[in-house]
Subunit: 289 residues, 2 copies
Amino acid sequence: MKTLVLGLGEMGASLALDLKKNPDNQIYGLDANSSSLDYALEKGIIDQAGQSLSQVAPEMDLIILATPVQAIINILKELANLPLKDGLIITDLGSTKVEIMKVAKQLFAGKQVAFIGGHPMAGSQKSGVQAGRTSLYAQQTFFLVLANNPVSRASLMKLEGFLQPLDARFIVCQAADHDQWMAAVSDSPHVIAFALMNAAVASLGKPEAFKNYTAGGFKSMTRIAGSDPQLWTDALLSNPAGTLAELNQFKEELDHFYQAIANGDRTALFQIIQQAATARQELMSGEQE
Amino acid sequence: MKTLVLGLGEMGASLALDLKKNPDNQIYGLDANSSSLDYALEKGIIDQAGQSLSQVAPEMDLIILATPVQAIINILKELANLPLKDGLIITDLGSTKVEIMKVAKQLFAGKQVAFIGGHPMAGSQKSGVQAGRTSLYAQQTFFLVLANNPVSRASLMKLEGFLQPLDARFIVCQAADHDQWMAAVSDSPHVIAFALMNAAVASLGKPEAFKNYTAGGFKSMTRIAGSDPQLWTDALLSNPAGTLAELNQFKEELDHFYQAIANGDRTALFQIIQQAATARQELMSGEQE
C-alpha cells in the first residue's frame, strides 16, 4: 500500500517509522525542508522522497498531513484540484478539528475520497525530523473525527487498520467536542506556559541570570513553552473561540487565588489549593508520576 | 554533635538521612504526628525521638525547623523562651524569608544563639516521612540568609560545615532578594498550577472524565498543583506582596496572548510565542530535559 506522509517533523517522522513495521507499506515522504527529506531518506524513515504533491499524490492509497494546521488547510485545497485514486483516505494530525473538517467537507463533497480528521495526543516540546522515534503513539489517545458523509464513515475501519502499527488508543468524536477538550487541556495550558515564561523574564531578566535559582516546578511548568512557535501560532488561531473561553475560565480561577492572598484569607486559600491538589491526585490515579 | 530536626516530612526526613552520613551526628526528631516520629525512628531516619521541644531543645547544638512557615514562626517563639546552649545555631527550610528573619531578629536579639535562615530549592510534590530519601539536596541551590548581627555572621561557616553531607550548593543572599526570586519562580507558578487545575475541572468535570484525553503537557504543568495544601497556604501568605506583584506581571503577559488571539494577529502571536520558546531554551541550556 502506498502512503504519503507530508511533513517530516517529530510527529510525521515517528508515524512513518511505525508504519514501516508493516512490510506491505511503501512510505513516501514530502517536506518543505529538503534537508529534512534527505535525512528521512538516509535514515530509512521513508522509502521514497516525493518530487512534489502533484506528482506523488495521484498514486497514493493513504495521505497523512503532518504539518501545522494552516498548512494542512492549504494542502487540502491543492489536493482537491488533483486527480486522486478512488477510495483514497486522507487524514491529518492537526491539533484542532472544527476548521479543518469544515474545509475538507466543502472540498471533497461528492468525491470518492474520504477525509477523516486525526489528532494523536502525543509529541513533545521537541521538533524536527531528528526527534522522530518509534512507538511515540503507543497507548496514547488518538482522536478520529468523521466527516458527516457515507464515504468517510465507510473508511473508518480501513484507516484504523492502516494505523494499527502505531498501537494507539483510537477515540471517535465530534469536531466541536474535540476542540473544546483541547482548549482546556492543551491550548490554554500552552498559552499559560508561554505567558509564565515571559513574565519570569520580565521580572528577573534573561534566563541565564535566574536558571540556578529555579527548581523543578518552574521547569516542568514551562516545558511546553519550548514548543514550536509556528505550530502553536497556527494551532491557537485555528481554535480561537475555545481557547479564549478557557482562558477566561482560568482567569476567573486565578482571581479567586489573587483575592484570597490579597485578603489574607487562610481558610479560602487552603480550600482552593486543596481542591486543586485533590483533582491533581485524581488525574494521576493509577499512573506513574 | 546533637541536632534536632523538627518536622519529619519529605524535607526534614531527607535532611536527617543525609546528616546521619556523619557518624558524629546524633539526630533527634520531633513531629506533631506521632506515627511519623515512630516511622522515622523505626527506619533509622533519626537516632532518638524527642519527648517535647522544651525537653530536648536545651541540649542541642543545631536545630533545624522543617515545618510550614507559620509553624516555624510559632516554634521560634517557643524556642526564645527556653534555656538554650550558647553557640546554638537555629536554621529553617521555609520557602520565604523576610517574615521569618524579622521575627527571629526580634526574638534572639542580644542572645548567644545564631539564627540563619535556610531555603533549599529541593523537594517534590510528594509529602510525608515516607518520601524522605538521601541526596535530595545534592547539587541543588540552598539559600542561606544571615541575620544582620555578629553571632549570625560568625556562625555561617559552622552551619555550612554541619550541612556539608547534603552536598548542596549554598548561596548567601538577602531576605528581600530571596523572596522576590521565589515569587517569580516558585510562588506565582504554584498559584498558576492550582488555578489551571481548578479551571480544567470547572470546564470538563471530574478528572476521571478527562484523564484519558490529557497529554503530557497538561500533566507536567499541573505537577506542582499536587503539592501539600497546608504548606502552600502558609508559603503564599508569608510572601503576599511578592506573589501578588508577580501574578500581576503574569496577568499582563497573559493579556498580550489573549489580545493577539482575539485579534487574529498572527505576527504578534508568533513573536511572543517565539520569545517564550527562546527563553525556555536558554533556561535549559546545558541541562537534560
